[in-house]
């Protein structure tokens, strides 16, 4: 549950920072519009156009918002998986499906499970006589239950 809350918190924080980001975009646009307006009015008196450098608060806001949004994107990536077979299979044995959760806390769709499950559940090892006896017991009990 704590992990879920953390992810939701990340998303909310990213949303908030995205609004700051779009606000800095808007401020920069307004600033450049104002500068060009001043330039056109100043062009009547002087021929040199003023260099439109951005105010430092817009620059800081843009850079900080970029960093925080990219941090949110990094935290939203799915966990990586070990590529070496022995490390990967060891993780699989130790943790099971819980080791392969995605960022939403659900087991990945491409989770394959035990790579040797075909060997471990071989039909040749099934004790068919025992299963037949169990089935006969079940039928007998079921008949009694239905009879009662």
């Amino acid at each position: 549950m704590a992990a879920d809350k953390g992810i939701v918190g990340d998303m909310v924080a990213s949303m908030l920072w995205f609004s700051a980001y779009s606000y800095s975009c808007y401020s920069a646009q307004e600033h450049s519009a104002l500068q060009s307006f001043r330039a056109t009015t100043a062009a009547l008196t002087s021929s040199t156009p003023t260099a439109a450098s951005l105010p430092v608060d817009i620059v800081i806001e843009t850079i900080v918002a970029t960093l925080v949004i990219s941090l949110g994107l990094v935290l939203g990536t799915r966990p990586l998986r070990p590529i070496q077979w022995n490390v990967w299979a060891g993780k699989l044995e130790r943790e099971g499906p819980e080791g392969f959760l995605d960022s939403e806390g659900e087991v990945n769709k491409d989770y394959v499970g035990n790579p040797f499950r075909l060997l471990e559940a071989r039909p040749g090892f099934v004790d068919i006589r025992k299963q037949r006896k169990e089935f006969a017991e079940w039928v007998k009990n079921g008949g009694q239950i239905q009879g009662n």
């Binding site: 975009c25 920069a28 439109a52 990586l80 590529i83 070496q84």
Partner: protein, 126 residues
């Protein structure tokens, strides 16, 4: 470069390699367009824009290393003593080569970066 014999002794999992490189690529292309927007807002031109892209994507990769790659290093450190001779910035648990991790997505995200960079430069400065 590992030989065929070493791959026989220590096999790799193709699904995991694919998963990791897809995760890295998705992150790189998403953040590249985001950085393009920032560069357009800041009004960067020519070399400073490309330098901005380089710095910020390396920073993002470093963040990915800190939050995704470095925590997994404890997974195999207990089992193998060979981790001792590898460096501090070791990505061999999740990627085949450090080059693939640190520089693999730089060129892939560049096109999206330039696209949004020029778009937002034009939108803001026009």
């Amino acid at each position: 470069m590992p030989s065929e014999r070493e791959f026989q002794i220590a096999p790799l999992v193709p699904e995991s390699i694919q998963h990791n490189s897809k995760t890295l690529y998705n992150l790189q292309s998403l953040t590249a367009s985001l950085f393009g927007v920032s560069a357009g807002i800041l009004g960067l031109e020519s070399y400073s824009g490309f330098l901005f892209y380089l710095v910020f994507s390396l920073l993002t990769t470093a963040l990915l290393y800190v939050f995704r790659v470095a925590p997994g290093a404890s997974l195999s450190s207990s089992s193998s003593a060979s981790r001792q001779r590898k460096g501090v910035l070791d990505t061999s648990l999740y990627f085949r080569s450090p080059y693939e991790f640190w520089a693999g997505g730089l060129l892939g995200g560049l096109a999206g970066y330039i696209l949004t960079w020029t778009l937002f430069y034009g939108l803001v400065r026009a």
